[in-house]
């Protein structure tokens, strides 16, 4: 019964776009004008919020990025000085960019692969599907602060279970979060723990692949691997594309876990040796510790442009690898 209800709900939401459209009544009859007026009234909260909390702030921050402003006096116009300083003098800018890019190119593929593996396994499972799904999904709803605190303890060099396990097979584990070489890899490993949401999205995508395709391939004698490569991956490519973009945007904005882990036990943001100084941590420091609001605005705009560029590149490349079947959703 529950299963049926869920399918009915999903069907309703997903078919909304395929419903027959009401005839457009052209012209400016009083009824049409009245309807339009009511439309603008109902959407006004969002339009107002979009202006107030997105467009106007972004415009202000664009202006501020060309100024020096420490909150006290009025902003001073300094032209491109913030950007010149950023690209030529600020050592933390390149460090934070390096950390963020390294994390993104390692953690995003890892997340996609783990999420896809879990979804494929769940899709094949016949027993206790609900239990397994819950087990994989729960970590992703744990608050980022709680999971960062927990993983600091799991990666504890002396008393944590990971190094304990390594010790019992005669190996000496690294100092993880207190070693500049291992802090970032530890964060990457940790990021694979929270892929439950992506897994569910993949699972929904897998359920949407028509079984007839597999049956036809089986008749043609295609083996399991062949079927996965030639049917599952292409049919799932829009979902992979979506998860990839979202994971990438998320990775570029990593903050919570790095902040909590590096400040544990009276530590400094981004430590050890700035090895976890993510872009957003640097921005936070400039904006909210040093109160360089002008410079922080410049940093925010550069990040925005980086994310936009990478999104556009992935989007462009998608034409060659994302496959959209003709039939709507």
């Amino acid at each position: 019964m529950r299963r049926f209800e869920r399918r009915a709900f999903m069907a309703r939401v997903t078919t909304a776009n395929n419903l027959p459209k009401r005839k457009e009544h052209r012209g400016f009859s009083p009824a049409a004008r009245r309807e339009a007026a009511i439309f603008y009234l109902t959407v006004s909260p969002w339009v107002l919020g979009f202006l107030l909390f997105t467009i106007i702030p972004m415009a202000i921050s664009l202006y501020l990025s060309f100024t020096q402003w420490a909150f006290v006096k009025a902003p001073v116009w300094i032209g491109l000085d913030n950007f010149v300083y950023m690209f030529t003098k600020d050592p933390d800018f390149y460090q934070s960019l390096k950390v963020t890019l390294l994390f993104t190119v390692t953690s995003v593929p890892l997340q996609i692969i783990v999420a896809l593996l879990l979804a494929v396994l769940l899709n094949e499972a016949t027993r206790a599907v609900g239990f397994f799904r819950t087990a994989f999904y729960i970590p992703s709803i744990v608050a980022s602060v709680a999971s960062a605190v927990l993983w600091t303890w799991i990666f504890n060099p002396r008393f944590g279970p990971i190094n304990g396990l390594l010790r019992s097979i005669g190996m000496y584990g690294p100092n993880w979060f207190s070693d500049p070489k291992y802090a970032l890899p530890a964060l990457v490993i940790m990021s694979a723990w929270g892929v439950g949401g992506q897994m569910l999205i993949f699972l929904a995508g897998l359920k949407g692949i028509p079984r007839s395709l597999y049956e036809a391939a089986e008749v043609d004698g295609a083996n399991r691997i062949r079927r996965f490569v030639s049917i599952t991956l292409p049919m799932l490519s829009p979902t992979i594309f979506f998860n990839l973009i979202m994971a990438m945007i998320g990775a570029f904005q990593t903050f919570d876990s790095a902040y909590v882990i590096s400040t544990a036990h009276a530590g400094q943001i981004g430590q050890p040796q700035n090895s976890t100084l993510f872009y957003l941590l640097h921005l936070y420091q400039e904006g909210f510790s040093n109160f360089n609001m002008g410079y922080a605005s410049a940093l925010a705009w550069v990040l925005f442009i980086i994310i936009l560029t990478v999104t556009l590149i992935i989007n462009r490349s998608s034409k060659s690898w994302v496959f959209y079947s003709g039939e709507g959703d």
């Binding site: 997903t14 304990g164 999205i201 909210f288």
Partner: protein
Amino acid sequence: MAAITNQARAAGTIRIRDYKPGEVVRKIIVNGLLIFLSILFLFPLFWMITTALKTNPQTLQWPPLWLPNPPMWSNFKDAFSNPNLPFGTFIGNTLLIEAGVLSGRLISCTLVAYGFARLRAPGKNFLFALLLATLMLPRAAILIPEYILFNKLGWVNTFLPLIVPSWFGEAYAIFLMRQFFMTIPRELEEAAVIDGATTLRIIWTVIVPLSTPVLAVIAILTFKDTWNDFLTPLLYLNDKNHYTVAVGLAYFNGQNNVQTNLLMAASLTLMMPIVILFIFAQKAFVEGISLTGLKG
């Protein structure tokens, strides 16, 4: 699809295949991997719970004490009774913010989604495309200017910067609701229109009662996101008495010489409400997330 498979299974067509040796090997591999991976994913949570119930010396023991006996339930009391860390106040603050955010999001998004689902007006498609585009907008881009705005308004160190934006709609919730509203038959509203009901009245008496599934999905996901949020309250709440649970835990974690067992007890306090919510409303979680991936 599953129904067809079940029928086929009942009819015995698939059962024959189940006895193929390749099929048995595949099943062993799939189930073996599932069991191994689920242990791997659940282990950190198990470790958190057992640590929270150990005495401090027990947390430093190797091989570890798997099931602390007796469990130190008093750790929770100790973590809560630290006068420097009023976790009771943190929970109260978080719930207050939740109330403001939940009511704001549900009311504003219902209104906006109704407009997008039902009414015709020039510029509607453009606005809807804009709405979807904001789903991809990185939050980092508006962090600083938003702070400047709320600072100008004198709202720093109040709950207002965390609550007020939610009264102006949110793209994902609006999108999900709009999709749902579009499937409600128009005839149901037409009777109300003939009776001369206003738009607000139609929304309240026709749309809302029929939309409880989608409203529940949005309420639950909003509750989770607000409860877990760290960056916003970190920026705006400076006074310890205004902290949320997440910020309070990060503060606790930042102290010198923290006892790990108490830290894990506090982490569990932050984690458990959402896990319990998930157990009771699994369906809503799964639906809400699964639908995220669908293109508009």
